[in-house]
């Protein structure tokens, strides 16, 4: 894997406020990288520096192992904060302008409108679009030059559930074409659903970096109670797929891999002649995990 983006000691101060503090990050080609963090944690500021609109106070970054220049940005499709277009122009005219700036083929306009499901509305003025349509047009514009990298800052902000679902599907589809995607969001669920790697920012500091697979895997926790707790514990220890058995307030808590279900556990227990008085499957919510990360820092 080659490196798409390398950030070293990137810092931005607004007067006395340090919005981004000594950020170091490396993003590999083909990954879908989530940037998580509560409001005001510096996500947009970081992306703004990477995209040449905010001047860093200190530090450096390099796209494609090659420094940074406006020419490179032609190969990066990016939306920062909200869809930005000329309201008096139609969708097509706006895309045409982006084509001219990026040096893309005009034939791409119809193609990307098709990709984001806006084919019928290209001739309508941007100011008449619904929020969802604006977001779609922004993604269309980001895709127009068939970029190597997509940078999306809260692309599902303000959308209805259907819109959120559609945009996420779209992002996942794009990810399968091998493009690198950098996605900033404060929605954990979003990052978990579309990203392969993620980092967490808090008040400008990088406090966590890891892989979604490992950290946000849907671990299963099962709560069990039986008359003979010690026997129950020994039997549970022998079941494959269970990683942890813990006794807590007269209840046994069992943690295991994703595919562990109460059904399989119960089957084994019945075979061994253990009768349960209580059985419940718990899922640890992503919010809980996220809060843990924030608290630990």
């Amino acid at each position: 894997m080659s490196t798409i983006l390398e950030i070293k000691g990137l810092t931005k101060r607004f007067g006395r406020l340090t919005a981004v503090n000594q950020l170091d990050l490396t993003i590999e080609k083909g990954s879908v990288f989530g940037m998580l963090g509560p409001n005001g944690s510096g996500k947009t500021t970081t992306l703004g520096m990477l995209l040449g609109v905010t001047t860093p106070t200190a530090g450096s970054f390099s796209w494609f192992g090659n420094g940074h220049s406006h020419e490179m940005r032609k190969n990066i499709g990016a939306i920062l904060e909200q869809p930005v277009f000329y309201p008096y122009m139609t969708g097509e005219q706006n895309l045409d302008l982006v084509c001219q700036i990026k040096g893309a083929e005009k034939t791409r306009i119809a193609e990307v409108l098709e990709t984001v499901g806006l084919s019928g509305r290209g001739k309508d003025k941007f100011k008449g679009y619904s929020l969802g349509m604006k977001q779609r047009l922004a993604i269309a514009a980001a895709l127009i030059n068939d970029p190597h990298v997509l940078v999306l800052d809260e692309p599902t902000n303000g959308l209805d559930p259907q819109g959120i679902f559609d945009i996420r599907e779209l992002i996942r589809d794009i990810a399968t074409t091998g493009k690198t995607i950098i996605l900033a969001s404060h929605l954990l669920d979003e990052v978990q659903k579309v990203c392969t790697e993620f980092c967490v920012l808090q008040t400008g500091n990088l406090i966590y970096k890891g892989s979604v697979e490992e950290d946000f895997a849907d671990s299963t926790t099962i709560e069990l109670v039986a008359d003979d707790l010690s026997k129950l514990k020994t039997v549970l220890g022998g079941i494959s797929g269970i990683t942890e058995v813990e006794e807590k307030d007269g209840t046994i808590l069992v943690r295991g891999e994703k595919d562990l279900t109460s059904l399989t556990v119960n089957k084994v227990l019945v075979e061994k002649g253990i009768v349960l008085t209580h059985l419940r499957t718990l899922k640890k919510s992503l919010e809980e995990q996220f809060m843990e990360i924030l608290k630990e820092s």
């Binding site: 406006h70 940005r73 920062l80 309201p87």
Partner: protein, 271 residues
């Protein structure tokens, strides 16, 4: 350069307001000289100058060769206001819509963004000069008693001065728009400065303290001075009928300042 001009034009021709302003601008080139001629006739009719040695206003040879270039260039100085509106609205729009930021994100350098605006303003100044030339020749050949090439070509330095003047005022609006960023405030600021602040200050300087040159160094005054009022000579007073090097120097200095200032404002700030 051509690519940048095309980008700027795409932003403008898709906007109805800008198209209307552009049409008014073109229309003004024809209507202003006509209106001025009727104005002179109207003056003569309402306030007859009677029998004296002065030329009657309706007899002024305003469209005769030699005189025509300065006269037209002077009359056309107000025409640029329509393009000033376009520059002001289009630049402040870019901040309002945040499209300047998106343009940069999409792959324009800030320098290119600046150049796209500059190129547009240069193109407009060039077009205005061509229109001045065409109308000058057509009207001149139609009305002027003398049409020798020598006379036709004399005083065409005013064409160069006109080109500079148009570019100068567009640049002035560009800098103010970049500084203020909000259409309403920029518009009010420009009007206040042009019609209230600078006239008061320059009148005080030149009338009370007799510091005429200092008054001429104020930016709006310096811009107007590229083409001085030509009509006084028709009632036997003196009027400067050439482009003075000193006027050029003062305006040139301001223009250089506008260029540098706008460049810094576009390239140095966070978007």
């Amino acid at each position: 350069m051509l690519r940048l001009l095309k980008i700027e034009l795409t932003k403008l021709y898709t906007n109805r307001f800008f198209k209307v302003l552009g049409a008014l601008w073109l229309f003004a080139f024809i209507s202003i000289p006509v209106a001025f001629k009727y104005f002179l006739v109207w003056i003569e009719k309402n306030e007859p100058t009677g029998d004296n040695q002065f030329l009657k206003p309706d007899q002024w040879p305003i469209f005769d060769f030699v005189d025509i270039w300065q006269n037209l260039a002077y009359l056309y100085k107000m025409v640029t206001i329509f393009i000033c509106f376009i520059v002001l609205a289009s630049v402040t729009n870019e901040f309002d819509y945040k499209t300047i930021r998106q343009n940069v994100i999409d792959g324009m350098s800030r320098r290119e963004w600046w150049l796209s605006k500059i190129t547009f303003m240069l193109a407009i100044s060039f077009l205005a000069t061509v229109i001045l030339a065409v109308i000058g020749l057509v009207v001149g050949y139609a009305y002027s008693p003398v049409t020798d090439v020598e006379y036709v070509l004399r005083n065409i330095e005013f064409m160069g001065a006109y080109f500079l003047q148009v570019f100068y005022f567009l640049m002035f609006c560009f800098v103010i728009s970049l500084l203020i960023k909000r259409a309403g405030f920029a518009f009010a600021g420009i009007l206040f400065y042009i019609y209230i602040l600078e006239p008061i200050v320059t009148v005080i300087l030149s009338e009370k303290y007799e510091l005429t040159f200092l008054a001429d160094c104020f930016p709006i005054e310096a811009g107007w001075n590229l083409i001085r009022l030509p009509f006084e000579k028709y009632f036997l007073m003196y009027s400067q009928d050439y482009v003075a090097w000193l006027d050029l120097g003062v305006a040139g200095a301001w223009l250089a300042f506008f260029m540098g200032m706008s460049y810094l404002l576009v390239t140095r700030r966070d978007l």
